[in-house]
Amino acid sequence: MEDGDDELIVRVARGDGAAFARLVGRYRARLLAMTTRIVGNRAVAEEIVQEAFTRAWINAPRWKPQGGGRANFGGWLARVATNLAIDHTRRARSVPLEDAAEPVDPTLSADQALIAAEDRRRLARALGELPPRQKAAIALTYDQGLSNAASAEVMEISVGAFELLLVRARRALREAMMEDKAS
């Protein structure tokens, strides 16, 4: 049976590198996807994720198991990474999301692949113009797959305030798709 986060953290607190590796392995992909979405740059996102894990290692001896398993530690980790990413984005100039090469989905026809590529460009442009906290709302919802309540907890705001961020962000993305279509 898979160890829960609380068990792994207790072992990490004792300096167990293997337990730490398992936690890193468990969260790195989602955390990196979310952070990249917010800062718009893979290299910066990697540094932020690295820092979040470093803080997890340092603070492990003070971690109080909360019995909720993955959600609690994962939520804490997401909060650290989100705050670091938002802080970075506020300090840095607005940078559009990298247009990383995307593998072609073999199930798409040539026309569909073209439309998908165009949609991705539109999305990158619209995301690049969102305020950092709205980007975070999108990242927590679509990259972390968190509910509104869990996302609000990560961002340390009320559910209503989170929904407001998400609504504004989604509206901007939807309108970007419509504008491009109109033009």
Binding site: I58, Y142, R170, M177
Partner: protein, 138 residues
Amino acid sequence: MTPEFYEPEFQEFLDRLDLYGGRLETWPIEARASAEAMLEKSPEARAQLDAMRRAEAALLRSQAVRSEGLDDLAARAMRVAQDRPRETEMRRRLPWAVAGVVALMAGLYVGQLPASTGEGPTEIVTAALDQSGAHDVW
């Protein structure tokens, strides 16, 4: 722009679309029923739903490409984390302990100073005024 943009019902559909996203099956039942009715009659509503779905599909597709090089990241994170010293309970309390010792020593030092002359601030100010002749002016 069609007149339906100004209809409250259409605006409500857009508000819900932004709140719940493009997957109608995840919407609350009542909201879904009214959305389906709106979609039935409004091409503009269908276009807006399609735009939201395309945005969400693009979000999910762009997420999928970000898994390369994760092993490097994991190794680096572990190396950096394990090199950084942990803040143990003793380490965390050390500055307070040092401050406490300094305060204690300062207290002992002050306690050993010679006793004061017994003159209070009022007497000192009065004496100074007497010397300066300020009373004459006042």
